[in-house]
């Protein structure tokens, strides 16, 4: 298979999957989140890869709406975690997004199984963000937006919590650059952080990002997450 066509197919499936999640978050109907995965449209391998790319957010409806995930969807998610572990020299965002998936999986499965005997997955370090400029910090956090969840506690969320003004600056920068995906991801983080300057006008800012970039389901997903975030209670 040509790499470019694999890539296009993968990207299209990620968008479909993101649309499913957006529909579920908007309607509160988690079953619809599974239609791309269970509808047989995409090949198994591509579907798995798309879940890996969308990451832990694939299960976001069940987390934020507090409803158990669809079993078929959960099975694909589990396959994706197993099939695409980070390579040895993988970038921190690749490692962290995989870690976020394993954590989401464990949380989703916990009610179904006996308490896990094994120890929690070792958390990667966040040293690559030590002393990071606010621009790079915001870009990396936006890529790792699936970690932006109420009550989430890990090295990345601790970094984000220590730099609310910098993430707010990154949001302004992303909007100025018309990078709606980064703006939406940064905006999702900002809904969780204390110490964001009031003058940012986050609520109007999120509405603006929706107006300008909301037709991209990956942008819409972050904005829906941001909308539900204050009400969401994790675990």
């Amino acid at each position: 298979m040509e790499q470019s066509s694999t890539s296009a197919l993968l990207q299209g499936t990620v968008l479909d999957l993101a649309s499913d999640v957006v529909s579920a978050l908007r309607s509160g109907d988690h079953v619809r989140a599974g239609s791309t995965l269970t509808g047989g449209g995409a090949g198994e391998g591509v579907a798995r890869a798309a879940v890996r790319v969308l990451g832990a957010d694939t299960l976001l409806p069940s987390v934020l709406l507090r409803i158990p995930p669809d079993p078929g969807q959960l099975a694909v998610f589990k396959d994706a975690v197993a099939a695409h572990p980070p390579r040895d020299e993988a970038a921190p965002t690749v490692v962290w997004s995989h870690w976020a998936m394993t954590r989401a999986l464990r949380r989703a499965e916990q009610p179904l199984t006996t308490p896990p005997a094994d120890e929690p997955d070792a958390e990667p370090d966040a040293r690559w963000l030590d002393g990071a400029g606010w621009q790079f910090l915001t870009h990396q956090l936006a890529v790792l937006a699936p970690l932006a969840l109420p009550g989430e506690e890990c090295a990345v969320t601790r970094v984000a919590r220590s730099r609310p003004v910098d993430v707010a600056r990154g949001f302004v920068r992303a909007v100025r650059r018309r990078d709606w995906q980064q703006a939406a991801g940064a905006g999702r983080w900002l809904t969780l952080l204390d110490g964001v300057p009031d003058t940012l006008g986050l609520e109007a800012g999120l509405d603006f990002v929706r107006l300008m970039g909301g037709s991209d389901p990956r942008v819409a997903l972050q904005l829906e997450a941001a909308r539900l975030m204050p009400a969401g209670v994790l675990l």
Partner: protein
């Protein structure tokens, strides 16, 4: 001829490359465009011309 395993391995490798690129994306170039200035409608322009001014009266026929 490559074995089935070899093909599978190749596909997986390709997918992983795509996946890594998607999970560690470079930042796109910024797109900058500022609002343009348009003078207020019906404001004097160029000394004599008026925007949205009534049409110049023409001699009546007949």
């Amino acid at each position: 001829m490559p074995s089935k395993d070899k093909v599978l391995e190749e596909v997986t490798r390709t997918e992983n490359i795509d996946i890594d690129a998607a999970l560690d994306p470079a930042e796109p170039d910024g797109v900058f465009r500022d609002s343009r200035e348009c003078a207020a409608l019906a404001l004097q322009s160029g000394g004599t011309n008026l925007l949205l001014s009534p049409p110049t009266p023409r001699p009546k026929k007949g």
